[in-house]
Amino acid sequence: MELAIETHGLSKNYGPVHAVDSIDLRVGRGEIYGFLGLNGAGKTTTIRALLGMIRPSVGSVRVLGQAVGPNGRGPWRNVGHMVERPSAYPELSVRENLEVARRLHGLSDRDAVSRVIERLGLTHDADRKAGALSTGNLQRLGLARALLHEPELVILDEPASGLDPAGVVEIRELLAGLARGKGVTVFMSSHILTEVDRLATRIGIIHKGRLIEELEAKQMEELRSRRLEIQARDLEAAQRALVQAGFAVKDGENALLLNEERAIDAPDEVATLLVNAGSPPTRLVVEQEDLEAYFLRLTGGKS
């Protein structure tokens, strides 16, 4: 697999604090890689290291096959980025901010600015000063700057942050289109887990500076735990009947939970059992853990 991002033992220490600890990332070209982590987990530090903004304490970073080194060396002509909250020169208009970026990217195509303004839905605000933009439009400006030079790789920190629901869907479709249509690699961190769930082809979970889980979207489906949730008018009687039948029953919120495969695969048999025991179910549903619950379970957070 040709790699867009490759890190070996990437670590960054600030005194005794291990912000990032021995991270080995391998992101293939054309992938949409979702990078998940709680606040302070090390997401932004990793992204800054990928962009050469901080020097790793230990380890190495390669982006698009080129070593990211000191003095800002890297394949930046082909990389677009947005780190943390978007920023812009407040006294310059949207168009002028992008014109500055175009020139600093050495882009000779003068129409690139107009194209990206249209693409990101900023046409009405093109001549508005960046300092007067809403948070959502400032986010769009940040994304426009990242995509202005049609990069092979985009590294985005919380790309959906500050956008309204329609904007979130729009950006999701834009990024998905770039990856599928043009083979652009997308590396994105997000706290909106459902966004990552819907968009990413691979997910990495970082916790306390360490990459604790990395999985394909398909693996994700398999790994998420499923359970059978049962509600009945007499929960105690239903529980007794299930225990007598050999099920390991867990208490849920006004419900009983069964995690065993024989229950999940045959809810009809469980229903028959309860009916025969005189405690017919009022609700019987196979539930699958969502990414958020899986993530919180993995990181030890509360679900």
């Binding site: 903004m53 020097r55 980025h81 600093l104």
Partner: protein, 261 residues
């Protein structure tokens, strides 16, 4: 070279669109106006007495309304211009941190060193243009006030001293750029400006001014005064050393410091 001009264009646009450029011109306009006002008061001593404090102050600084005195006051305003230059350097570098735009300048095909170079070149052009504006406007105001004792030779000598002071002040600007970068914003560099001003005064009083870079421009300015004077090569060397080390520190910091915020 294209990358440098792209960076210079970007820096010029940022300055042009900001309020700072208007403010800097306003300050540069006030300096010769104040000088002209002093001369106007000194030309009419009776009126100066009626004006109380302002008149007394004007007499303290300049004595009588002559072109040599006018130029002396104008050159001494070069010290105020030094503060203006320092503030421009503080804004040029510090704003990237205050506006959080520095992270947009780090992972670009345009090298970081080129961006820093463009900032310094813009500062050089900006500050020296302001110096020319101050002197040119001073010349117009001096003629308008119609003060006696002028000559082409005096104009030329005064221009040379004034621009030398402005140039020496420019050579001290890189340290402000470095402190603004190191401190990631305006406040540390503002403290630096106050520190250099205060320490220059102190060391000049103690007799060590000629060895202290930040005291040298004021020493050069005194050449235009009634006592005249001269400046040793060693004083110019220490200013040059301060300039080179300030530039080197700023370039090194932008190239290799962690940008974790």
């Amino acid at each position: 070279m294209n990358a440098f001009f792209a960076a210079l264009w970007a820096e010029a646009l940022k300055a042009y669109r900001s309020r700072v450029i208007g403010l800097s011109v306003a300050v540069a306009t006030i300096l010769p106006l104040v000088d002209g006002m002093f001369m106007l008061i000194l030309k009419n001593p009776d009126r100066a007495k009626q004006m109380g404090l302002i008149g007394a102050k004007a007499q303290l600084v300049a004595g009588t309304a002559t072109w040599p005195n006018f130029y002396y006051v104008l050159v001494m305003t070069g010290i105020a211009a030094a503060i203006l230059f320092d503030f421009l350097a503080m804004w040029t570098f510090g704003r990237e941190f205050s506006d959080h735009t520095v992270k947009e300048l780090l992972a670009l095909p345009t090298p970081r060193g080129t961006i820093v170079a463009a900032k310094f070149v813009l500062l050089a052009v900006w500050t020296q243009a302001l110096a020319l504006w101050i002197f040119g406007l001073g010349l117009v105001i001096g003629n308008a006030v119609d003060i006696p004792g002028g000559s082409a030779h005096l104009n030329l000598i005064s221009f040379g001293i004034f621009m030398s002071v402005a140039f020496l002040n420019l050579l001290l600007v890189p340290w402000v750029g470095y402190i603004a970068s190191l401190g990631r914003g305006y406040l540390p560099s503002m403290s630096w400006i106050i520190f250099t001003l205060a320490s220059a005064q102190l060391l000049q009083v103690m007799g060590w001014g000629e060895w202290y870079p930040w005291a040298v421009p004021a020493l050069v300015a005194t050449i235009a005064g009634p006592q005249g004077g001269s400046i040793g090569v060693h004083s110019l060397v220490v200013v040059l050393v301060a300039c080179v080390t300030g530039l080197a520190a700023t370039f090194a910091w932008w190239r290799s410091a962690d940008q974790a915020r």
